[in-house]
């Protein structure tokens, strides 16, 4: 019998999918050494019963990350934005209780990601997109349909929804909130800083303490994370072991709004990651290309060479190192997986290239 490879709890091997990226799987035909009945199977509801007599209660407790994949490519705009016919809201089901939504790049160049998480007692929508007009960006309609389908699968009705933002002030994440204003059984976390702090119970202990959103068996941690926004927060999902970081840390051009807060928040995340398993860090946007250190400029509406969304948790350490380097310096700093802008124009350019990182120019699209 072959020796089992050492397992790393923060980067667990998935059955048949040794590497998390859909395009770089090392065992595309499965990996016999993982066995036929891995632990994760208990997280999947069976479709075998024809009629259910009572609502399904899902067990969200899990040792490692719940199984799930981003097995598809993100829509990335088109050369002629006016001719784009991709979905306005792209939905990828990560697993039955976790959805990742992306706004069409040709509806808004920020193309933010929105996350929809379900627990036994409710659903949580993290962020709300960059466009308020539902004709251009029907987020509410899409979320309603996802909730309806989930309710039918779980034999439930009237699942309450919480809409929470990684930053209430960020117009690339808060515009869609208005679409939920009149929705029944919906709690919208206030977007103003003081009201948001009061809502979570942060009064007096911001940003040192964390808060919780209980979805019923799936308890989301709310971690204060000012730095790119004064009202920034991160969310941690212990079921998928994902950390949702919004504008604080994402594979793109990170505009630092207060470098002291930025360093402290990343250090806080580093401390959090030391005590909580993290599979992926999930940001709110992608600007980076799949070659290191290269990125799309602001307002780009065609990003065919986009990097994948998910970030390994070790990137938090990289981010802390870069953040400490840039603290107190008004400049930009290029890293392999993100670019930091501190006190300079969001269009700042630099000739300084990170040492040891290959400098690859992807071909120019049309």
């Amino acid at each position: 019998m072959p020796q089992q490879p050492p397992t790393d709890r923060t980067q667990p091997q998935e059955a048949g999918n040794a590497r998390p990226s859909a395009t770089s799987r090392t065992a595309p035909n499965g990996d016999l050494s993982h066995g036929y009945n891995p632990e994760g199977a208990r997280h999947t509801d069976s479709a075998v019963p024809l009629h259910r007599t009572e609502p399904v209660v899902h067990d969200y407790r899990s040792e490692g990350p719940a199984p799930g994949r981003i097995a598809f490519r993100w829509a990335h705009g088109s050369n002629v934005a006016a001719k784009n016919r991709d979905p306005r809201v792209q939905v990828i089901q990560y697993n039955e209780d976790t959805f990742v939504l992306r706004q069409n790049v040709c509806v808004h160049w920020e193309a933010p990601f929105t996350y929809l998480l379900f627990g036994n007692a409710g659903a949580l929508l993290i962020d709300a997109g960059a466009t308020a007009n539902p004709r251009y960006y029907p987020l509410r309609e899409t979320v309603d349909a996802l909730i309806t389908r989930w309710e039918q699968a779980r034999g439930r009705t009237s699942v309450p929804l919480t809409v929470a933002l990684t930053s209430g002030e960020d117009v690339a994440q808060n515009q869609g909130v208005v679409q939920f204003a009149d929705r029944a059984r919906t709690t919208i976390v206030p977007t103003k800083l003081a009201a948001m702090q009061q809502h979570y119970g942060f009064s007096g202990n911001w940003p040192s303490r964390t808060a919780r959103i209980d979805l019923g068996g799936r308890v989301i941690d709310v971690i204060p994370a000012p730095g790119t926004h004064r009202d920034g927060v991160c969310f941690y999902d212990p079921y998928c072991k994902m950390l949702f970081t919004g504008d604080l840390l994402f594979p793109g051009r990170i505009n630092i709004s207060n470098d002291g807060d930025f360093v402290s928040s990343l250090e806080r995340l580093q401390g959090f990651a030391a005590s909580h398993p993290i599979k992926w860090v999930m940001g709110g946007h992608i600007d980076m290309m799949f070659v290191p250190g290269k990125y799309y400029p602001r307002f780009a509406t065609y990003k065919p060479y986009e990097r994948v969304l998910e970030m390994a948790p070790t990137l938090i350490d990289d981010a802390v190192a870069y953040a400490r380097e840039i603290r107190g310096n008004e400049k930009m700093l290029i890293g392999s997986d993100f670019v930091l802008f501190n006190g300079v124009s969001p269009d700042q350019r630099t000739k300084v290239w990170p040492e040891g990182v290959p400098d690859i120019d992807p071909p120019r699209p049309f």
């Binding site: 002629v80 602001r298 124009s345 700042q348």
Partner: protein
């Protein structure tokens, strides 16, 4: 045939007598058109700009404007402007008609005809003009030139590769100045004859090395490319740019100019900077500028001694600031 023979009155090649009558294939021997349009009386020819150009939209995939707005400034002059939902660069492109030739200056930022078919738009304009004026569109030679050597001005050249009766610039400095028969760039001013309609062309480096200024003697519009336009004039080389400005001033001192026109608009009517790459400019300033604005900018430029971004009241002069392309800041900054 020497590449310069299509330039009229070029002293360097004026060895062929104008009155020579011959049946050779030389350009000068082409039979004159019947009932030629008079492009030399009652100048400047009147014309107007639209009150508002198409300027993108909030959601680009919901944009229903055409890929390019074709505006007839007057009966013999069209100005094309690309839709911002087709490219954020959204350059302007004048199309000048003469009795025997059509000149397209700049092209818009598009490469493939299936993305948007610039050639078909130009052909439609030529057919329209020809039918209005009782001409055969096939008889008109199309010259495709550009203000300067940047992709948003030349990207569509290959759409014209198989178009009959068409000549276009090459994509090197040498081919560009050769296309206009210049041997003393940038000072030399040549006269292009479109058939009764003359275009004056001279060098205007500074934004890039390979750039021209174009003056249409019929509308008296001075087309200044990207070295002077209503937005961020990215000045890569200050001294040559300043010299080019001086040449423009010398020109307007000695020639009547109705409008000064650049290739882009990146500024609002209120002087607000529309940052680089923006695809919706609902309150944008007009593309045309006055001679007074050109003179004011020149006076302002005299005071500039350092690299940096300067607002003259009309344009932003971005003196050697490619590393800082816009003046805007992170709006969420706090202390």
């Amino acid at each position: 045939m020497d590449r310069r023979t299509f330039l009229a009155r070029n002293a360097a090649v004026a060895v062929v007598p104008v009155a020579l009558t011959t049946f050779s294939a030389s350009a000068g021997a082409r039979s004159p058109v019947r009932n030629p349009i008079d492009f030399k009386s009652n100048l400047p020819a009147p014309g107007d700009f639209p009150a508002r150009w198409i300027c993108g939209s909030e959601s680009l995939m919901d944009n229903t404007d055409p890929p390019v707005q074709v505006h007839w400034y007057n009966d013999h002059t069209a100005i094309l402007r690309q839709n911002k939902a087709y490219s954020y660069e959204a350059p302007f492109a004048p199309l000048y008609f003469g009795n025997e030739r059509v000149l397209l200056l700049d092209e818009g930022f598009t490469t493939l005809r299936n993305d948007w078919d610039l050639r078909a738009v130009v052909d439609t304009c030529i057919v329209d003009w020809a039918s209005r004026n009782g001409r055969d569109p096939a008889s008109l030679e199309l010259l495709v030139a550009f203000s300067h050597l940047h992709a948003d001005h030349y990207a569509a050249v290959n759409q014209f590769a198989d178009r009959p009766n068409t000549r276009y610039m090459g994509l090197t400095h040498e081919e560009m100045i050769g296309f206009w028969g210049m041997t003393n760039f940038p000072e030399e001013r040549v006269t292009l004859d479109l058939g009764g309609r003359e275009i004056l062309i001279w060098g205007s480096p500074g934004h890039v090395v390979s750039e021209f200024a174009y003056y249409d003697s019929y509308t008296q519009i001075l087309y200044t490319g990207d070295m002077f336009y209503r937005g961020r004039c990215y000045i890569s080389f200050w001294e040559p740019w300043f010299e080019s400005m001086k040449r423009l001033i010398d020109f307007v001192d000695t020639h009547p100019v109705t409008h000064v026109m650049g290739c882009h608009v990146e500024i609002s009517k209120d002087g607000e900077d529309y940052p680089y790459g923006l695809t919706w400019q609902p309150n944008e300033a007009p593309v045309q500028m006055t001679v007074k604005q050109l003179r004011e900018t020149y006076e302002f430029a005299k005071t500039i001694t350092e690299p940096g971004i300067y607002f003259t009241g009309t344009v932003f002069l971005c003196n050697q600031t490619r590393s800082m392309t816009t003046i805007d800041v992170n709006p969420y900054r706090y202390s």
